[in-house]
Symmetry: C2
Subunit: 198 residues, 2 copies
DNA sequence: CTCGTAAGATACTGTCCGTATCTTGCTTTC
DNA sequence: GAAAGCAAGATACGGACAGTATCTTACGAG
């Protein structure tokens, strides 16, 4: 099924075309309907070509989703830790919506029996947000004097992301009120309890 | 493949035998390896018999797992809300371990596109714990005077379970220290912030 | 021009879901 | 206690899809 009147693509060009096709397939067919045959057909190529680059369905799925997520999102400096955390959680939620609830769960499922693949997923979908939280929110709050390094435990560091992820995974949607209740009823009180002036 | 020297089972007896077989299949083959063929073979019957009772793979999976979870677990009255919450979270964690990380994720995935089935899952795996938390923990704390009804928001009501579920789903394990940091660094501070004397 | 590499086509194995069809044993009813 | 009916159980099938093997062919490098 070679594409008519077109030369064979190779290397980077072909790889991008397949990732594009994969993303279209993901968007149109959903997580469960995402098939290697569909990807190959959309890309105007064949399965072995796809398999030469990604060893399995879940690998290319993660790759195509990761490739579509904005790489270096920023969180505006709102002047207070509350505003910054709300902004961060909003960014996190936007990223999750790009992935989708079913796909997020599906990838976590696929990955849960394979530590190798798990690393890839956690690296591209989880760690990035955690770093952003540290860099863009906590560091600024420390500079402002609202927070001290020693107020932060590991748990508090990841608390906002844990809560919004849970909300998204279980309920599928995270309305504005949910974000605010997470921040005002849980995160800020927990920070204050350790001495933060927030 | 009718079992030799045995009369045909019917009704309740057959149903239980299939559920037993399903649970064995689940334990031995895991979530991904759980197949209807396997269940039928183990139960000494055939697929149509299984399909007459449960309309799909995920239905019987949920049914067999739910049937193996202790129905009415109790949370000991430890005399303080902290102890009670730790105990509740420990119970929740034990239930989750019985299900397993992969199966939990897998069921959530399967269910995420079908509100009908979702209700069944949420009813048997989520609501039960929420009720337990209300009945066994918050009610007693209110009776003790540590807590007042109006201190409790919806978010705080489900906070302990949300956090332990997240921990289990993402990290696969919830060690004692995690439980304690959840309770001491997050849940109790959040309750105190709303006026609870805990 | 030749040669090697990778693209692309095709077909195959294997697995499993869900269903259709048929036989047969058990139970109920007259 | 025979006939009728119902559900159990066997078997086989259609369809989808993962992943692989094999072959041909375009194309770039030298």
């Amino acid at each position: 099924m070679e594409r008519k009147g077109a030369s064979r693509r190779r290397g980077e060009e072909l790889e991008q075309a397949i990732l594009d096709a994969a993303f279209d397939e993901f968007r149109d067919a959903g997580y469960a309907g995402f098939t290697m045959e569909g990807v190959a057909k959309r890309a105007g190529t064949s399965k072995p070509v796809v398999y030469r680059r990604w060893p399995s369905r879940v690998h290319i799925l993660m790759a195509c989703i990761a490739s579509r997520l904005p790489q270096a999102e920023t969180v505006p400096d709102t002047g207070s830790i509350r505003g910054d955390i709300v902004a961060l959680v909003t960014v996190a939620h936007r990223r999750m919506r790009l992935v989708g609830q079913t796909a997020m769960l599906g990838m976590l499922t696929d990955v849960s029996t394979d530590p190798e693949v798990r690393k890839i997923l956690v690296g591209s979908l989880v760690s990035e947000l955690a770093n952003l939280l540290d860099r863009a929110v906590y560091k600024r709050a420390i500079a402002r004097g609202e927070l001290a390094e020693e107020h932060l435990t590991e748990r508090l560091r990841r608390l906002p992301i844990d809560l919004v992820r849970n909300e998204f995974i279980i309920y599928g949607t995270v309305p504005r009120e949910a974000i605010e209740s997470i921040v005002d009823e849980v995160v800020l009180p927990a920070l204050r309890a350790r001495g933060a002036q927030v």
